[in-house]
């Protein structure tokens, strides 16, 4: 069925307008346009940071906004907030109201309701708003840093002052450096610049030449010594051979010493018995001495040449 142009245009306008109207109506319902709104009054010693239209937030959700700000006869700022019926459950008699001013982003009134079983806040009650100010906190934190920066700036200023002072240390050092470089540029060598005397430089040169001769001779001497010491028939190989021979002999001597040791040990062991042997001998000698004495007594007293032995 062919559709007329008028119909198409009409359909377009009606449909689009309907969509637009429905969207707006949805927004209006969602924003509580047709809802009952409760007005609560909060108080603050200062109106600083409060603005009309400021959001009232509970658990991160907007539940209302600041409707009006007034100053009463006592100089206290009254903040009237409007809360729709569906969010009234979050506003309790013991709720805390905090003005939160973040460093970034807009300020808001945060509602903290610890006990959700508490009764709803009476619209005639006027709770006080506490303040949390990220900006002041940040300033308090930044203050010592700023002081240090100021100190650094002062130091830098002092440094630059010292640097820029024509009679200052830095400029004097620079002048000295300039003199040194100028001096350096005028001299033929670093040595001349150091001793500032051409004759000394010559004598140093001569000394150096002599040193060179000495080192050449020393080098020859060392070569000869080297040859004498390290040649195949030099001292060191011979010493080595002697040492090896000596080592072999020493090893053999070790055995002899061991044997001597053994003998001396044995001797020592034998010597231990010598004392007993001697005492035995002494006893025997004593006994013999006694016997002799007895024999002598017998022999001496008797005239008879014969005697009876026991």
């Amino acid at each position: 069925m062919p559709v007329s142009r008028d119909f198409k245009v009409g359909l377009f306008i009606v449909c689009t307008a309907a969509i637009l109207f429905l969207s707006l109506a949805y927004l209006a319902v969602g924003k509580g346009f047709f809802e009952n709104v409760h007005t609560f009054t909060l108080s603050s010693k200062s109106g600083d940071g409060f603005t009309e239209g400021m959001p009232v937030v509970f658990s991160g959700f907007n539940i209302g906004k600041v409707h009006a700000l007034e100053l009463n006869e006592k100089g206290v700022v009254l903040i009237k907030i409007k809360i729709p019926q569906r969010h009234i459950q979050w506003i309790k008699s013991d709720s805390e109201f905090i003005l939160y001013r973040p460093l970034i982003g807009s300020a808001r009134i945060v509602v903290n309701s610890e006990n959700l079983a508490s009764p709803t806040l009476d619209e005639n009650m006027i709770p006080e708003v506490m303040l949390i100010n990220d900006i002041n906190d940040a300033i308090a934190r930044i203050e010592p840093v700023l002081e240090r920066i100021i100190q650094i700036a002062e130091n830098v200023e002092q440094l630059t002052r010292v640097l820029s002072d024509p009679k200052g240390d830095f400029n004097r050092t620079l002048a000295n450096a300039e003199k040194i470089t100028a001096n350096l540029a005028g001299k033929k060598s670093l040595l001349e610049m150091a001793v500032s005397d051409e004759a000394s430089v010559k004598s140093v040169h001569e000394a150096l030449k002599k040193m060179q001769d000495i080192t050449v001779r020393l080098d020859d001497l060392l070569k000869k010594t080297d040859e004498q010491l390290y040649h195949q028939e030099g001292t060191l190989p011979q010493v080595n051979a002697i040492l090896k021979d000596l080592l072999g002999k020493l090893q053999r001597l070790d055995k002899t010493i061991d044997n001597i040791n053994q003998i001396s040990t044995d001797t020592s062991e034998g010597m231990k018995d010598f004392r007993f042997l001697r005492s035995d001998i002494d006893d025997v000698v004593n006994a013999i001495d006694g016997v002799v004495k007895k024999i002598d007594g017998i022999v001496g007293s008797k005239k008879d040449l014969e005697f009876k032995v026991p």
């Binding site: 142009r5 008028d6 198409k8 245009v9 377009f12 306008i13 689009t16 307008a17 969509i19 637009l20 969207s23 707006l24 927004l27 209006a28 969602g30 924003k31 959001p55 959700f61 907007n62 982003g105």
Partner: protein, 290 residues
């Protein structure tokens, strides 16, 4: 006096004369330049005043009931058909593609910068109320305003307008008012459609990028939507529609009987439309700020 000294003094006089002539010429040039600027400003002011006066006349006609004869209504329907209905499928397709891309990029940027909490305000305050009208303006200006400008200029060159006047047909009622109403209606409706498509694609991208549920998205949108902003956006769309059709008509009517005047008035008209869009945008931003 030697010949050399005579020659030298003559040469010096010649140099001085040349310097004077150069100075006077420079002065003349700078004077001319200032005159040119003054003339241009006067011309622009006159043109602006003329456009405002013409707008007043059109508004007065729009408010008259007598204006809406059957012929006017028919022209209006045709205009809306050509401007909005004919283009609707393409417009919706482009809207879906462009809005998805735009919302996706904006959301990703907000996420990268850690500004997730401002996404509702960015979506409503920037994309819906600012970019949607601009998108519709671009579309209608490029497609319809330029066509209206050429149509008017060619009609004027071909003396069709004279003919209509001869037949005692009111040009304002028959040609101007329906086109301007069409501009306003089309701008408001197409811009609204684009905004709705944009918000719908926002549901998809908020879920994909922020892992956000539809309920949270809805709450954020509701909290960041301001009726005053929407009202300003709709009024702005209507004003855009009014001027992006009025200026091409006005410039088209300036064409002479020579066909060579057509491109001149068309380019002039389109440049002025661009300026008008900029001025209205700035004024709307100022209104928002105030």
């Amino acid at each position: 006096m030697s010949i050399k000294s005579v020659f030298d003094s003559g040469y010096l006089k010649l140099l001085r004369s040349c310097a004077k002539i150069e100075f006077l010429t420079d002065m003349g040039c700078s004077m001319e330049w200032i005159e040119k600027i003054g003339r241009s400003i006067g011309k622009a002011g006159k043109s602006f005043g003329g456009t405002l006066a013409f707008s007043g006349k059109v508004l007065a006609r729009m408010l008259r009931r007598k204006t809406y004869s059957s012929a006017t209504r028919e022209v209006l329907v045709n205009q809306i058909y050509f401007t909005s209905v004919q283009i609707l499928p393409a417009f919706l397709l482009v809207s879906i593609l462009f809005s998805s891309l735009l919302v996706g990029i904006v959301f990703q940027v907000l996420k990268d910068f850690g500004l997730t909490e401002f996404f509702g305000h960015v979506l409503m305050g920037l994309i819906v109320t600012e970019l949607s009208p601009i998108f519709a303006v671009l579309l209608i200006t490029l497609r319809s305003a330029s066509a209206i400008n050429v149509e008017m200029a060619v009609m004027k060159s071909n003396r069709e307008l004279k003919t209509l006047e001869t037949f005692r047909i009111d040009l304002m009622n028959y040609l101007v008012v329906p086109r301007i109403i069409n501009g306003m209606v089309s701008m408001v409706l197409l811009s609204s459609l684009f905004a709705i498509v944009l918000m719908a694609s926002g549901v998809l991208f908020s879920g994909l990028i922020f892992d956000m549920s539809v309920d949270v998205y809805r709450n954020i949108l509701l909290n960041s939507t301001s009726f005053s902003d929407i009202f300003i956006a709709l009024v702005k769309c209507a004003i855009f529609g009014f001027f992006i059709t009025l200026i091409p008509i006005r410039f088209g009517l300036r064409a002479t009987s020579e066909l060579t005047s057509v491109p001149v008035v068309v380019s002039g008209g389109m440049v002025n439309v661009f300026l008008a869009v900029l001025i209205i945008e700035v004024l709307s931003l100022l209104t928002k700020l105030l």
